[in-house]
Symmetry: C2
Subunit: 146 residues, 2 copies
DNA sequence: GTTATTGCAAAGGCTTTGCACACTT
DNA sequence: AAGTGTGCAAAGCCTTTGCAATAAC
């Protein structure tokens, strides 16, 4: 499938070697969709690909992919979470601090912010792939009750 | 000074006890301005207040203050950094990935984003104290030249 | 053949926790 | 007096690193 071709091209272009481990991590992330913690990825790789992989290798592959800007990293409550960067369709996430649920956010809203920042300050914000934390509607109602 | 009164009121309102440690941590953060890692705070407290404090106490005080929304936490490259939340004047940062410079951003712009998100999705974004990465004007011009 | 990368295990750094004592209320 | 908060030290967790073996180039 096309995913693999994309990974191959990315690694080649960065002067890195094309190893099965890197392809497996990339594949897991591409098919997972959304942010995954390293531990989640580690489990996904073992289950869906049939063979386990040392955690340290997952970390190293992610480091490489991050250098290439193929994945993005966010902080998920003290641990790292990664997502595949879909260059053709930028998207953003609303991450709830209460229940951890992730939902997509209309890119137009952020684009408007980026435009406003640029107009006001000349600063170009990197908003390709953004995660905003907060509280989802149901958690907010739960908190109000308590 | 007024800072102390603010802290006293905050702790009282949360049903927490007013201890010297919590006041010292709050004071250090109020006077530091901007984001400080826990280690930086720990050192600031020791130096500027004359007496050291166990790291664990700093952590616990910060946890309490964070629950009260008196401080905000951000991820500073794997470790936590905290800043005092100035309710009277919320502020945000544009952090340049090129030169590392930090500059303030008009809060109104983010408030507009927060309102739009809430209207569209019901999700309440925590935008009290936000850091946006990107590229400042001079770095962008430098990159364009190269 | 060279050199980057992996696997394993051990170390590292930041943060949290258990428990007895002290202090706020 | 009652119960929360502190200090100390130890444990916990996520992540990184050293080194020999392996695989990509």
């Amino acid at each position: 499938m096309s995913c693999e071709g994309e990974t191959v091209a990315l690694l080649r272009s960065g002067g890195h070697r094309l190893t099965p481990q890197r392809q497996r991590v990339a594949s897991a992330l591409q098919h997972a969709g959304g942010h995954r913690t390293v531990e989640e990825l580690h489990a996904l790789i073992a289950h869906e690909q049939g063979a386990p992989m040392p955690l340290s290798t997952v970390y190293r592959a992610l480091t490489t992919l991050k250098e290439l800007r193929a994945v993005s990293e966010i902080d998920a409550g003290g641990r790292s979470a990664f997502a595949w960067v879909d260059r053709s369709r930028p998207h953003h996430h609303l991450v709830c601090r209460g229940c951890g649920t992730e939902r997509d956010l209309d890119p137009a809203l952020l684009q408007r912010l980026g435009d406003a920042i640029r107009a006001a300050t000349g600063f170009e914000a990197f908003l390709d792939h953004f995660a905003i934390t907060g509280q989802c509607e149901s958690c907010r109602q739960g908190a109000a009750r308590a």
